[in-house]
């Protein structure tokens, strides 16, 4: 993400190789390089990388089920 000075506060968000101007007025704390959640052209939340990593750690710590039990 890069920031452009404008009203409303705007920036360019890179969605995996796809870029679009996004309004950052609601995420004043967002800085270049942050991941943001975008809804209809507005960043509504800055992703908390530590919490994201923690969620995945919890999931990965779960015991694996037996595949046949799930019919897969």
């Amino acid at each position: 993400m890069s920031v452009e000075e404008d009203f409303p506060r705007g920036g360019i968000v890179d969605f995996d190789g796809l870029r679009r101007p996004v309004c950052l007025a609601y995420t004043p704390e967002a800085a270049v390089g942050d991941h943001v959640i975008v809804h209809v052209g507005f960043a509504i939340s800055v992703v908390d990388e530590e919490e994201a990593a923690r969620t995945l750690r919890v999931l990965r710590a779960m015991p694996d089920a037996i595949e046949t039990e799930l019919g897969s």
Partner: protein, 365 residues
């Protein structure tokens, strides 16, 4: 994409399903409120993998579905005016009004344009000063800050040929209405992560407490949903009923203060009719009188609109979760995504369209 791919990992999905099966001892019924979550659940077939007897009810969280017929008819009346450029999110274009939809109106010459963001509509207004640009401002709390900013932007930069036709809805009053219904079967809710990213979850705490229902703030990816369901079931199994947050990477308890402030500045809470459900007190947002100049409803005085719903459509019961699309006589026959009778068949987030697109129950027709 970062923060998306990880949450679609099939091996982790299998672990969550295993854990869910090990945890659930009863056939719990859980409602996901948001249409985006319904879309993931049906598209990935998550509900088909749940423990036997456990049910997901798809709630009234599709903005396209619950926008009242009067608003669609007003949109059609305004869009038909020659001076108007009518702008909307794409999926509102095929919502059936009493006589036709915006796609059909466009084919008959109306200037109807799809925009990705309401700020794009303001830009179109700026570029076309001789025209009247109207934006159909629908959606839940997630979309309200964007629409608020469009109005603030137009006001600040002196764009006077821009107005909004507002039909915003709010989630907590809808949940309360569902819980008050005598035939309610929902035992726990997955609250919409993006709504809570804006609003936080403090509004849900008294609901969980008063009605004794677990409410889990949940994201939109398959693993988010499975974890949200698991968290709800764990509460149900242990007799707890509190608000928990699965979507910790994006949602904080008090939400997004800047966004809430903008919404509070531009809108005020109002009673709102929900298509298929009826009027719910204090369940919507309307423009604050200070911004009345941007109200398309006033600007174009659409007057008396006579609306008529298809009598065969059971959208109301589907949106309340008391019946399934496959219970509807018209589902897959008179009513298809090609010829929708009711709004839940229009948006791919709508329960009926999600069912139809996944081929549910069609072999019987």
């Amino acid at each position: 994409m970062k923060h998306l791919d990880e949450y679609r990992d099939p091996a982790l999905a299998r672990r969550l399903l295993g854990e869910l099966r090990a945890t659930a001892t009863r056939p719990w019924t859980v409602m996901e409120v948001c249409g985006g979550q319904t879309h993931t659940i049906v598209r990935q077939g998550i509900d088909e993998l749940l423990p036997a007897g456990m049910r997901m009810i798809h709630g009234p969280g599709c903005p396209v579905c619950v926008t009242p017929l009067e608003i669609i008819d007003k949109a059609l009346a305004i869009a038909a005016r020659p001076e108007v450029i009518f702008t909307s999110y794409g999926d509102m274009l095929r919502v059936p009004g009493t006589s036709g939809d915006l796609v059909g109106l466009k084919a008959r010459g109306a200037d109807v344009r799809v925009v990705y963001s309401p700020l794009d509509a303001v830009r179109i207004a700026r570029e076309n000063p001789e025209r009247e640009v109207v934006f159909l401002a629908v959606g839940f709390e997630t979309t309200a800050p964007a629409n608020a900013m469009a109005v603030l932007d137009a006001a600040k930069t002196g764009v006077t040929n821009f107005s909004v036709l507002v039909s915003h809805v709010l989630v907590p009053p809808a949940i309360t209405t569902l819980l008050e219904a005598p035939d309610n079967q929902v035992r726990a809710f997955l609250a919409a992560g993006h709504v809570c990213a804006v609003m936080g979850w403090t509004e849900y705490e008294p609901i969980a407490d008063h009605y004794g229902v677990p409410i889990v703030v949940t994201g939109f990816e398959p693993l988010d949903l499975l974890e949200g369901i698991l968290m709800a079931v764990r509460q149900l199994e242990t007799g707890r009923a509190v608000v928990e947050n699965q979507y910790v990477r994006a949602v904080r308890r008090t939400g997004n203060t800047a966004a809430r402030d903008a919404v509070a500045q531009v809108f005020r809470v109002t009673d709102r009719k929900w298509r298929g459900i009826g009027e719910i007190p204090a369940s919507g947002l309307a423009l604050d009188p200070a911004f009345a100049g941007f109200d398309a409803d006033r600007r174009f005085a659409t007057g008396d609109i006579v609306t008529r719903e298809s009598p065969a459509c059971i959208a109301g019961e589907i949106l309340r979760g008391t019946r399934l699309p496959t219970d509807c006589q018209a589902y897959g026959t008179a009513c298809t995504p090609r010829t929708p009778l009711g709004a839940p068949m229009v948006s791919s987030e709508g329960t009926c369209a999600a069912f139809h697109n996944a081929g549910r129950g069609l072999e019987l027709r």
